[in-house]
Symmetry: C2
Subunit: 380 residues, 2 copies
């Protein structure tokens, strides 16, 4: 079993005993991160990026690793997140398999992999771990924390648990908690992995690996990351050429859209650890910013707003996309409304991107200027 | 392996050799059907109901079977589809496992179950089989053909292949062909079944049955049959009581929405044959009314409209629901537009039901009057 760590990744050792929100303690854990640009003299140009479920810390090329990163078009000298101006940090989420400690890491207490022995992971744990990275880098207060997708949840946890840690916030296709449609999708993805006999209650290896379950989970993910509208234009009902079809398989791939899903799945399955996937996926379902509202509180819309209003940032931008079915637009509007109620100059920016939840990765024509314009208004 | 035939079901033997659209011939096949009401003297009060993927022919209680049917609230004396006035026929789709011949039936040529030896099934085959039932019942021309979901596809095939067979048409949450999002979802459902080792290339039995694959397929179906909006109001983030949770299973059911999916899946898995599911599901992906447009034609929107315009009905109603992600609203609008271009007095009726694709089964408050008002304008 492999962790997937890009070359040039840097690491921060977390405090020897790192307490987890739902109980348990990590010993000797670490967080993988990368940086772009340099701190300025005033130390006020820090920008933190918190990622979605699967990315590593390599958001873009940098001296340590010139390979393009997952947000290459967005981050770098002269780009929307301009590393000539900002000192940018991207962390790999705690619980991931891309360098930060997670279920695929060795448990120093046993010498064996954690697997399902990893403590229950919460979004808050990832947020707290990111705060340690900033502290180690000497960043007392960020100019901005940017969170995408799951990272949008992490950013809210980060802001509410570490008051004053950032002057501003960009929340991209994020949410203050998951709604039941998204929970249902993720529950089914986890079930697909768990049902694969080769998952074996978390005890797989590279030879006995739950590839079918991971492929199924990834395909379902991709279906919900994009949009029907995009696919109508992109694939329509186009069939695969006969040389790309298996005539021996009566239910095999036939339409372009099926081949697209298959390609995505094949590129993913051996590049992400199944147990890490389960832990991170579940942490999104569990996360509920409403827990931080004034007691007594439940998980109603008013409770979410009251929790958001406890966050103190000067400026905020919540961006969403109308075609996003996984983190629907009203959730970014809610974030802007709540932060505004807490005193932030908060903007809700719905974008007409056809690419659904993944738009921030591909529709840079729209997301680039939105992010650049917001950052341009900040000091630092 | 079992077929699931409601008591009181009636059967029509298809012509001894029944040719299938994509090749192959069925021998000794039959279609299951039920009726409500009686033919009038003029023989012009026939109404045919074509169903979605899973229903049987028992749409409502009748003398042969007083148990409630799957459209009980819609069909019967004095109801929206009023059996005091109309002679109503509902057929079980060819290829199903609810009485009509399908992959779970015995192949008379071999004495063994068809399984994957069943010929490739098209929506058109189901439509042609339904036409035989009407002929046997002495119905030359229907007052109306009503098709729901997959039945909306079957109804369009029925109308274009059997000109003059109906004076009017109600298409409910149907489509002239499947779009790539729906194809992707169904492809994944089929893959879930095929990946279950107990599917065994179609060679399962009651003891060795692909239950996991069928559960996964059904859950994914239910996710796409309903809507995020409905679930927000219905489930929110409510957790199961602790006595309904399995503390030993670290990724087990926790949220109400997960339990809802689980319940749906459990009620379905042993009530529908997996091979039949695969055949019917694939027939929906294959169906493309654009094939009937004037040559040369592909599968573009204009081709669909030109095919629809070849259908001759006097009146038509296409009903859809804005929250339907599987058969989205623009597909019902397209049906109305195309039938209108062919000379029909055609109405597109978008309904604000929150229940998504399944709304026609549950939101009778909206669908009942819509169907009743349309039928009230017909002679017969």
């Amino acid at each position: 079993m492999t962790e997937f760590i890009p070359p040039g990744t840097r690491f921060l050792a977390l405090p020897h005993a790192f307490p987890m929100k739902r109980g348990g303690t990590l010993h000797g854990a670490r967080i993988a991160y990368e940086t772009w640009g340099a701190p300025n003299a005033a130390g006020d140009n820090g920008v933190l990026i918190l990622t979605g479920l699967s990315p590593d810390a390599h958001a873009a090329a940098n001296p340590g690793n010139p390979e393009p990163g997952w947000w290459e078009t967005m981050l770098g000298p002269g780009k929307a997140i301009d590393s000539d101006r900002w000192f940018v940090v991207c962390v790999n989420t705690l619980g991931s398999c891309k360098g930060s400690t997670g279920p695929a890491s060795v448990n120093p207490d046993t010498g064996a992999l954690y697997r399902l022995g990893f403590p229950e992971l919460s979004i808050e744990d990832s947020a707290d771990a990111a705060a340690h990275v900033l502290q180690a880098l000497g960043i007392e207060r960020l100019a901005c924390v940017i969170g995408n997708s799951m990272g949008g949840m992490s950013a809210l946890a980060f802001l509410i648990r570490h008051p004053g840690i950032a002057r501003s916030h960009i929340n991209i296709s994020g949410a203050a908690h998951a709604l039941p449609f998204s929970i249902a999708i993720r529950s089914l993805q986890r079930e697909a992995i768990r049902l694969d006999p080769l998952w074996n209650h978390g005890n797989y290896d590279d030879t006995h690996y739950p590839e079918s379950g991971m492929r199924m989970a990834r395909k379902l993910g991709v279906i919900t990351y994009r949009s029907a509208l995009e696919w109508d234009g992109r694939f329509g009902r186009v069939r695969l050429d006969s040389d790309r079809r298996d005539d021996e398989d009566p239910f095999g791939l036939e339409f372009e859209v099926e081949s697209y899903l298959e390609g995505h799945a094949r590129r993913f399955v051996r590049r992400f650890d199944p147990n890490c996937y389960l832990y991170l996926s579940r942490s999104m379902d569990w996360f509920d910013l409403a827990e931080y509202c004034s007691a007594p509180c439940g998980s109603r819309s008013g409770d979410v707003l009251s929790a958001l209003a406890k966050i103190r940032v000067g400026k905020a931008l919540a961006i969403g996309v109308a075609t996003d079915i996984l983190f629907p637009l009203q959730q970014q509007e809610q974030i802007a409304d709540g932060l505004r109620a807490g005193g932030a100059e908060a903007t809700f920016l719905p974008l007409p991107s056809p690419q659904g939840h993944d738009a921030f990765l591909v529709d840079i024509e729209r997301f680039g200027p939105a992010v650049a314009n917001f950052l341009a208004t900040l000091q630092g």
